[in-house]
Amino acid sequence: MSELRWNPLMGEWVATATHRQDRTFLPPENFCPLCPTEPGGFPTEIPAETYDIVAFENKFPSLKKDPDEPAVEGTELYPVQPSKGICEVIVYSPRHTNTLAGESVEQIYKLILVWTDRFRELGERDFIKYVFIFENKGEAVGVTLHHPHGQIYAYPFVPPRLEKELEQSRKHKEKTGSCLLCDIVAEEKSDGRRIVAENDSFVAYIPFFARYPYETHIASRRHLQAFTDFTDKEQRELAEILKQVLVAFDGLFNVSFPYMMIVHQRPTDGASYDYYHFHIEFYPPMRTATKLKFLAGSESGAGMFINDTLPEVKAAELRELVKPVDWKSD
């Protein structure tokens, strides 16, 4: 059963999805649902002996295009809506034990083409207002399947964090006449201490206001709002800088680095968001080789993050680990 329940304290929706409680949880490799289906073998989600990249509707979706009727009746204080939307799984490659960091730049470029196509197709659905592309990686962030994959949640509304970013961007534009993220990138470039990597089209940096020790943002140099605005050169250079950042992450403690990767783009509700600026945010929970940053009282209860480290110091660590890209090697 699932529905959207309104939280009047925060002015936002919460989704219940009881069918997710028993979803597949860390299966052994020979029962991985995202691997190819071998002849005579365990039937996975993917009916093919091999594939390049696959996208499919999540078997345990938080939102559905034909949702169930809500399990409860709403009231005036507590409105309830069917949890209408679309949830997809994007499987990055058939290689079970690999990660996005381990894939070639070419494979990451292919993934960007797939993300672009998914953003376009899902965004054209009239009930979808925001196409949210993300990846949860590592048990430390709650991953239940190890096979390298990401997800897309196509929401029927603009979700709260994006609403806030959009509002901040709009107010900055009104006040100063310029784009907020363009100004952030310019300030980061001018300072230099928090830059991690850059190329002709993108800049990767730990922001001045980083909440996690290794929180990293990748912003386009050109003022654009979504994947569908990219040139071919920008698609390729995003693949390159993603590879560089991901490999640098893994090099920090010589472990496969857990993170949440979040793509922030314009909504798809048909309105104009020319004041907004495409970027990707990484939230890695590791703060040392053996310690995690938890969202405890101040973060979860008050919304104020405490960062135990200095972004300038952490960026220098990452910068040392950035290597030149090679398109064909893993």
């Binding site: 989600e45 993917i46 009916p47 093919a48 091999t50 594939y51 390049d52 990249i53 696959v54 996208a55 499919f56 509707e57 078997k59 292919k110 083409l113 797939v114 196509d117």
Partner: protein, 59 residues
């Protein structure tokens, strides 16, 4: 399983949508270079020797 081949979305990418038995859709994204490599790998695994496939130009 229902299939439909859709037109190229870029120079090297094609997508093939299938409907799974439970009604969910699944989309295979294929890239010309990967498809050529897969065909060459499949030809090498054939039990009886086959004439080698013509080398495909990288897109």
């Amino acid at each position: 399983m229902n299939e439909s081949n859709e037109k190229n979305l870029s120079d090297s990418m094609t997508r093939r949508r299938v409907i799974l038995p439970d009604g969910r859709y699944l989309i295979f994204y294929d890239f010309a270079e990967s498809a050529a490599e897969a065909r060459q790998d499949a030809a090498k695994k054939e039990p009886h020797p086959q004439p080698e496939a013509a080398e495909e130009k990288n897109v």
